[in-house]
Amino acid sequence: MTAVEVRGLGKTYGPVAAVTDLSFDVPPGEVTAFLGPNGAGKTTTMRMVLGLVAPDTGSATIGGVRYAALRRPAATVGAVLDTSGFHPDHTAGAHLRVYARMGGFPRHRTEEVMDLTGVTPFAGRPTRGLSTGMRQRLHLATALLGDPSVLLLDEPANGLDPEGNAWLRGFLRELAAQGRAVLVSSHVLSEVEQLADRVVVIREGRLAVAGPMTGLYAAPGVLIRTPGADGLSALLSGDGVTVERTATDTLLVHGLPADRIAAEASSHGILLHEITPVRPTLEQAYLDLTGGPA
């Protein structure tokens, strides 16, 4: 069953269409990355899914039910929003206890999520003195209080140091492996590349692409620099193989592995100056989709 189902979602602020006819799914057991340039409508979409912003058109449901109609919302969906804050006087522990009581969760759950997210060492400190990374951990702990089966996280890696980022990646992968649906918006594409199974890319409020991460990439290729580019191009072209001339002495070959190309060139006496497997990056695929600079 689809955990989160977004269908035809639309929201307009005055003359600005923030989100237009947006549809996608977030399945359980996977991490879905939610990508798009600044102002593309990611945060508005998340807030519409969570019932904080009323959509003008369409619907967003969790397990077939609108967020506001969920029987135990905080025990079904955990969310980290980019603009959420804390009362500066509250300690990290007090903040969690307020929301544990609000959600009707047992007292020991507060200790559990503090241990899970690494909040315990600073549980007694007022939130006004917490670093950005500590605040992110506390946001995540708040989202996990109800042990939810769906997580919607808006830029959860913001402010985390490399160690924290590595921890977050592993943590979110583990949560997905437990069968939870995880939707993560992020600008750090290298992080997303290592984290996500699926991707939803939006541009100017409209869907650019949604599907498995692997479908986003162009096929891997092999970059070859050779003085015999004409001969090698004729030799390699054929069924399932495409050869693209990127410069006078440079070819980009798709559909053949590097060792086969090297063997063919060698057997026909063609000199190679360079042969490099090229793995397409998420960044390039993202920029192609969102119309950013190549």
Partner: protein, 264 residues
């Protein structure tokens, strides 16, 4: 609902504000006690002493004027959530928003009544002690003094609720404080100076409070300054009913205002 009220109570008592509120309640009561020790007969201009009914009412009426202070506490109920950007998390935990807002109303009205009770106990103790120290008795029977103190405590609970409504309407806590403070200390007094409009005074929150607490000093002073006859306040019970009406309006505003707003 009880979980939400408990959460709101925990939220309130986990911040420093409640300590300041307790200090303010004790301070308000102590200020009244100090006035009792000084004695109205030593005010400038001198007023009838504590041994008279009017003197006792004046001292208690000053306490009624301080009912505005817990209204400031009330503004923090919703406005502080916007200020500290915790409103989104709160509404995620209580997406049927009226439940969270009702929990705030219950919690803060309870806190306002507690504030009023502390103030009344300190003021009452000071008042009786001052009278005893002066070797006299209060000008009102003890039962009536206690009844006035209870009315003042209830008024403080109502004013806290008014504060909750203002905080929900304005969202910006500073704006809510400024508007509320300006209204109680400037606008209402200014209205009393406007011929015709002053007829409305008994029905305004300040006039209703004066009726409930039996404190007519402000209205009398304005009348004396302007040479006009002082407006007639409502009977205490009707004044209380008007205040409860304002409280109901404030509660309605507190619940209705955030219902359809987008939380961005």
């Amino acid at each position: 609902m009880s979980a939400l009220v408990l959460a709101e109570w925990h939220r309130l008592t986990s911040a420093r504000l409640w300590r300041w509120a307790v200090l303010a309640a004790i301070g308000s009561g102590a200020f009244t006690a100090l006035l009792a020790f000084i004695g109205p007969e030593n005010f400038d201009p001198p007023l009838p002493g504590l041994h008279t009914a009017e003197g006792t009412r004046v001292v208690l009426g000053v306490l009624g004027l301080l009912a505005f202070v817990p209204a400031l506490l009330g503004t923090s109920a919703v406005a502080a959530e916007h200020r500290h950007r915790t409103i989104a998390t709160t509404m995620l935990y209580a997406p049927r928003r009226w439940t969270a807002l009702l929990a705030k109303i219950v919690t803060f009205t309870g806190a306002g009544l507690a504030y009023g009770a502390i103030t009344a106990v300190v003021a009452g103790a000071g008042l009786f002690t001052a009278a005893a120290a002066k070797g006299s008795t209060l000008g009102l029977p003890p039962g009536e003094v206690l009844a006035l103190l209870v009315r003042i405590a209830v008024t403080m609970g109502v004013y806290t609720l008014l504060g909750v409504g203002f905080g929900a309407l304005f969202r910006n806590q500073v704006a809510a404080l400024v508007v509320l403070g300006s209204y109680f200390y400037v606008v209402e007094t200014a209205l009393m100076l406007v011929p015709g409009v002053k007829a409305l005074y008994p029905y305004l929150p300040g006039g209703a409070t004066a009726a409930l607490t039996g404190f007519t000093y402000l209205a009398d002073a304005v009348a004396a300054q302007t040479g006009q006859a002082a407006g007639t306040l409502l009977p205490a019970s009707l004044g209380g009913a008007v205040l409860v009406g304002y409280a109901a309006l404030a509660a309605l505003a507190a619940v209705a205002a955030p219902l359809r707003r987008d939380i961005t």
